[in-house]
């Protein structure tokens, strides 16, 4: 068989393409566990369920744990201090009923921060975690204007002693990343861990898509809600007892 140049290029191209694509294709889905070099998929959706009835006034275990885990300095003026998680006190205007709850990035399925970000630095990972890529964040703060939960902070000052697995930088925007570095190692976020040890066990972390997980079971059988549900953002953080 003899090939002219055109045929040779066509066959050669097809062989090359197959060789390039074949390793990426799998005929059978393997186990769910993911090794660090595997891409994140939407097989999972990580979420946190907050039982506000267990969240005690005055307790700040989750906040301290977050600050420590992510190396957020505390010797910064309050109005510019990055706060990835905060405790909010609510008092009902009509009844006077007071409650406390933690607020952080709600990890929306349709995040407004990612919609408005001009460079795509704000993005939602396939497993539902909303992140900022500090390498392409230009510090425009449009995401802070757009976030319905006031969940983001701008780094106003020079930083020192950042944690190796928590990239941060002056002039970029940041917020709760659900301790993505821990989640990727199969651990739970620092705030959830701290709440379980030192707090009121108000926080439950897990895969909302895994029917066997505690969070999925509780979401399926107990009442829970999103904050600002009218915005229809399908948040990954859900609340009970609001």
């Amino acid at each position: 068989m003899s090939l002219d140049r055109r045929q040779f290029l066509a066959v050669g191209g097809a062989v090359l393409a197959s060789a390039a694509l074949a390793p990426g294709m799998r005929l059978v889905e393997l186990a769910e566990a993911r090794s660090p070099d595997q891409a994140v998929t939407n097989a999972q959706r990580w979420g946190i369920l907050v039982d506000t009835t267990r969240c005690a006034e005055g307790c700040s275990a989750c906040v301290s744990a977050c600050n420590k885990e992510n190396g957020l300095q505390q010797n910064v003026r309050l109005d510019i201090r990055p706060q990835w998680i905060r405790t909010v006190t609510l008092q009902d205007e009509q009844t006077g009923y007071v409650q406390t709850l933690p607020m952080m990035c709600q990890h929306c399925e349709e995040p407004p921060c990612a919609d408005v970000c001009p460079t795509g630095a704000s993005f939602r990972r396939a497993d539902g975690i909303v992140l900022v890529d500090r390498h392409i964040c230009i510090g425009c703060r449009y995401c802070m204007m757009a976030c319905p939960y006031k969940a983001r902070s701008f780094v106003h000052e020079n930083l020192t002693g950042q944690r190796a697995d928590v990239p941060r930088g002056k002039g970029t925007v940041e917020g709760c990343n659900m301790c993505v570095h821990r989640v990727d190692e199969g651990r739970i976020p620092a705030c959830v861990e701290a709440c379980n040890y030192d707090g009121g066990k108000a926080l439950t972390f897990g895969d909302m898509r895994d029917p066997a997980s505690e969070i999925a079971k509780r979401l399926a059988t107990q009442q829970s809600e999103e904050i600002r549900p009218n915005l229809n953002l399908d948040t990954g953080v859900r609340y009970q007892g609001l």
């Binding site: 910064v76 460079t119 510090g139 204007m145 006031k150 915005l231």
Partner: protein
Amino acid sequence: MKFTDFREIEGRSLGYWGLLGFLGILIVAGLAAAYYMESNGHHVTGMNNQIVWGIPHVFAVFMIVSASGVLNVASIASVFGRAMYKPLARLSGLLAITLLIGGLTVLVLDLGKPDRLIVAMTTYNFKSIFAWNIFLYTGFMVIVAVYLWMMMERRMNVFTKHAGMVAFLWRLTLTTGTGSIFGFLIAREAYDSALLAPMFIIMSFSFGLAIFILYTMAAYNLTGRPLGDAILHRLKNLLGVFVAAVLYFALVYHLTNLYMTAHHAFEKFILLDGGVYTALFWIGQVLIGGVLPLLILFNGQLGRSRPMIALAAALVLVGAFCQVYVIIVGGQAFPLIIFPGKIVSSSFFDGAIGQYRPSLPEVMLGIGGVSLAMAMTTFAIKVLPFLPLSLADEDVDPHHAAAAKGTEAAHA
């Protein structure tokens, strides 16, 4: 109609170089301020995690909105065929480009990472109105530059109308984009309204024309070239209409909010008890920027006085600045309503009115941007023929010339 004689200004006087030198100092000061903010971090500004956009954004939006509006004068000539505005069209296009460059410079130098401008120019998220605006702004400069070329190169004059039409449509799109930066923010009480896009367009008409009138009056006064009442009175009457339209949009915006119970708290904040924002709204935006200019411009006596016309245009700009300040800073100062029906408190200022005091570097950066626009314009009219030698009545208004001749004939 008479052929308009465009000529470079001489620009050799001490006053001319003194003006450019003064603007140059302000530009250098603005750059120094930007460097100071960039190297220290934004903690040296008044901005914080509550008020994330401050005075630099007020300057930038003010100039970007004005840039698109100042092009209207050229559009009236090329698109709507009003011969009288034709001699003004070149300056109109020039100011559109320089004001936009000034505004964008301020915006970029306020970024947390201005050194990543190349990232902003190469990495796009096309769902973001900000990303669209990068194309709208750069496209605007290219289109207006081509438009100016069509106007200034006699061989290309036949295409002026087409280029003018493209520029006009583009500028409407651009201001829609600028208004939508705020209009698309669903989370905040002050924004989340389609009304902001048309409101920004009418604001641009007013702000841009006020700048155009002031610059033209100053340039003709300082160069000793004649500027007739015919063109000036037409411009000031048009400004009056635009000022009234801006007031109308402000009225509709607040009435709409007042009709919705959910927005009452925000309206109470801006209109009644918002402190500096309430004062800036009523005294700055409505009184200084709206009512007073209208009284001057449409008063039979005051409206004919040149100093009063200049004053009215200046008042419009003061009001414009206040209006943009109330929209941008006032809109952020009012806290997000995350939990309706609850009194909210936290270490992150939930439920609290945002506190912001503009710092000197921020203000210097903004003034530097305005100076950059003015310096570029003032230099450009020296090196290229942007300004007609005369804007005297008989040179711009064919009817006036004919009428004058008629009178002369009658006298003779």
